[in-house]
Symmetry: C2
Subunit: 319 residues, 2 copies
């Protein structure tokens, strides 16, 4: 691969967005397409909210809140204060600037634009030189069955109940009818490398794979597919990945991740702190290339370093 | 009238809201019902905006922007800044706090609540001790025919074009089907006094009168109806009243106002600066009581003083 590769990265929220940002900084304009989960999308006060698309978009535009990873930097909360004045107790924090995204998107969708189209307009306006695509323009809704609270919509589980309930089932409503968009098909057909970002496999990547044609497209790939484990020493950097893997019967280890992605990835990147897991997992998955490096992305430079390590590795093995 | 009277006040935006506020401060809780124009309502970025209802609501709640008369005090504009980042050029200023009203209202209407119901909830939450009612829950849209720009929706005429185009026609779309609400009927049946606030007669009061049953209810009143001229020395305190009256073939004078409201009002309050118009107009309209006092409401105290003068006058003549 002498020229810069074309990369399709699959991502959910904060962790995935960080690696996507690293790739975006390294690759020439237009070479990266981030295919984003929309199973978390929901309607709040009548507004269509796409949390993962927003996180990826804000991160690649360099305007994400660096403290939280989601939402906008320098955000203000006057809307929320007034909402409380009206007796509302909003459990989902909508910032004043963030509202522009939700209101424009909701209005565009109501006028018949697709999520893909309105996202493309946002990406252009925010001067992002790569592509960000919802995995589907069809309805897809992650519903979580819990012991304590029964069935919960994703945002209720994640934000309202802070992922504390015990999960016994995951359902991606609409996935039997949801199709990959033409734009995603096109990006996949041109890709030299696929990257599954270190997002939560069960909450962020699974709904992407549940879309009709998605899993098959990755299984039948003719280009290498790399993933980065979202775990370090058996723990998620952020969020419920390890807790949820355990609840869903998967080991929260390198072996668990390798098992989950079997047949879908050629290269598994794990943190150097987990290098002791390399040999036993390698023995069980002889066709999998396992690489260890620093996967924790504390700084912007870390994002770029990890992206660089991935692209270099793929470039070496495919030369 | 020994007890405090029950008052129904008809109002549009800023000027009307000021007198309504004066009445609200004077009257015991629940004695005032402000019936508000909705011909200015419009949809902006998919949000249902009711400018006159908001101005009356914010004014009676004591949270209106004292400089502009509309919008909220201590407003911030982060949403608008982000909207511009997305390449929008919004001509209607939506404040961050103000958005709470529009979003809650739009959501409530989409869920089947009436404008009357959602307005009542707002009024309660904002601790307003009186009633604020849209004149109708049906569609009513003021459309303005102009020489320069053809047909314009109200907000385009008023905000976008700053009421500069020459008006040759006013149309209240939907008025042939729009009905007074039950709540307005009830308030009218209990009223001891009707007040037509010093709002623009052609833009704020005319759409109210155009609603089915409204003009008839006022013409067949059994209680006194008072209006305050929106003109002082032939000029509007704010906005296009005099310009528009001229364009629509009415004199922008006390006589023009008396002509416009003939049959609808028993008492016309004019500014003391216009006392020289009293005798000639009185001669032409012998059944009309004309009172002169200070009608300019610069301060909160001015609002209360004018309201007091009106209620006192009505109380004297009907004792």
């Amino acid at each position: 691969m002498r020229q810069a590769p074309k990369v399709v990265a699959f991502a959910g929220g904060v962790g995935g967005a960080k690696l996507a940002h690293g790739l975006a900084m390294l690759l020439p304009a237009g070479h990266l397409t981030v295919v984003v989960n929309v199973g978390d999308d929901f309607s709040h006060y009548g507004l269509h909210i796409s949390p993962d698309l927003d996180t990826v978009m804000y991160t690649l535009a360099g305007i994400a809140n660096p403290a939280t990873g989601w939402g906008l930097a320098d955000e203000s909360w006057q809307f929320l204060a007034m909402l409380e004045r009206y007796g509302e107790a909003p459990w989902f924090r909508l910032g004043d600037r963030d509202l522009a995204t939700h209101i424009l998107r909701t209005h565009a969708l109501a006028q018949g634009e697709t999520l893909t189209q309105i996202t493309q307009r946002f990406v252009e306006q925010l001067d992002i030189s790569h592509h960000i695509l919802p995995v589907t323009d069809d309805r897809l809704a992650t519903v979580i069955e819990t012991v304590e609270e029964g069935f919960l919509n994703f945002q209720h589980y994640f934000v309202k109940y802070r992922w504390q309930p015990t999960v016994i089932g995951l359902n991606f409503e609409g996935s039997d009818r949801a199709r990959l968009t033409e734009a995603v098909h096109h990006a996949l057909s041109e890709a030299d490398v696929l990257v599954i970002c270190p997002s939560n496999p069960l909450l962020s990547i699974a709904p992407i794979l549940a879309v009709q044609g998605a899993r098959q497209a990755i299984e039948q790939r003719r280009v290498p597919c790399v993933t980065v484990s979202p775990l370090i020493s058996g723990k998620a950097v952020k969020g419920p990945t390890d807790k949820l893997m355990r609840e869903m019967g998967l080991l929260p280890t390198t072996e668990g991740i390798a098992t989950y992605y079997e047949g879908l990835v050629d290269v598994l990147v794990i943190d150097r702190d987990d290098h002791h897991e390399l040999a036993p997992v390698q023995a069980r998955f002889p066709d999998l290339s396992i690489v260890h490096t620093q996967t924790l992305m504390r700084t912007i430079a870390d994002r770029q370093t990890l992206a660089h390590r991935i692209l270099n590795y793929v470039s070496e093995v495919t030369l």
